[in-house]
């Protein structure tokens, strides 16, 4: 539990909070990238180098771009007249708080049984590569299928305009 951990966690949580609290949607998206970056740093803290960088590449590099594009495509950066929060926001807040208390409680409860320091695992990209086409070949193919499906799905959903133009 180093100060670095606290720093990064604070940054992550702050980013997350800002992402759901800020008024301007683009600001939310930018805050979201801060949260993503924090998460990536946490991954690095956990010696998951590859996952950390993959997180940056995919989330900051791609998902964040996707989000801001979506915002600009829907004129979402403008502040609507009647508030940014849903009408039944208290209910949502209560639910979230409840979930957090349950989770936190559970974590703290089990704190004693959770394992402490273990040896730093030596994981290289090579291992990941080998595992990918070895043990995890089936998930890999499934992911490919999923990604293709997602491409097609997302494109079909978002396409429309072009067909109209044709």
């Amino acid at each position: 539990m180093s100060p670095v951990f606290y720093l990064i966690s604070a940054m992550t949580v702050a980013g997350g909070l800002a992402a759901v609290l800020l008024k301007n949607t683009v600001h939310c998206a930018l805050a979201l990238t801060v949260a993503f970056a924090g998460l990536a740093l946490l991954f690095l803290q956990l010696d998951a180098q590859f996952a950390g960088f993959a997180q940056i590449l995919v989330y900051i590099g791609a998902v964040a771009i996707l989000v801001v594009f979506a915002i600009l495509l829907t004129r979402g950066s403008e502040t609507p007249k009647d508030g940014v929060y849903s009408r039944n926001w208290p209910i949502g807040l209560v639910i979230a708080a409840a979930v957090f208390s349950v989770l936190g409680w559970a974590v703290l409860q089990s704190a004693r049984v959770l394992p402490n320091e273990t040896a730093v695992p030596k994981v290289t990209v090579l291992d990941i590569g080998n595992a990918l086409v070895g043990r995890y070949v089936l998930p890999l193919e499934i992911v490919a299928l999923l990604l293709t499906a997602a491409t097609i799905g997302a494109v079909i959903v978002a396409l429309h305009e072009k067909e109209g133009a044709k």
Binding site: L44, F69, L147, V155, L159, K162
Partner: protein, 123 residues
């Protein structure tokens, strides 16, 4: 070793941040000391070819941007899988490579579909 490399990165990050911020701070100080900023309504309005700007710039864009972003996202994710595979590639057998080939081909199929659908035509 790992923590050391992260440490270097952190130092580099701070140095780069400093490099970015220091001149801005310096410029600000210069402004304070010698050349006062003189804002006014014309200067600080949006530039639009010397005319008064009309309409808001934060407007709606076309969905073409989004379509490309989707495909980019998919390929980005693909690269995340492809890179470890490539590292291991020299030591792999044909079967493993075949598996990867299937993976890649599946994504290419998505690309080809998008191509055929005209998604890749920026108009």
């Amino acid at each position: 070793m790992a923590s050391n490399s992260y440490f270097s990165l952190a130092v580099l990050f701070l140095a780069a941040l400093g490099f970015g911020l220091a001149p801005l701070v310096l410029a600000w100080l210069w402004g304070k000391a010698f050349s006062p900023a003189k804002p006014n309504a014309i200067k600080n309005s949006i530039y639009e070819c010397g005319l008064e700007s009309r309409g808001d710039a934060w407007m709606q864009f076309r969905s073409a941007y989004y379509l490309y972003a989707i495909i980019f996202l998919i390929f980005d994710v693909e690269a995340v899988f492809l890179l470890p595979f490539a590292v291991a590639f020299t030591g792999l057998g044909a079967a493993a490579c075949g598996a990867m080939l299937v993976f890649v081909l599946m994504l290419i199929e998505g690309l080809a579909w998008a191509w055929a659908k005209g998604v890749l035509t920026w108009a």
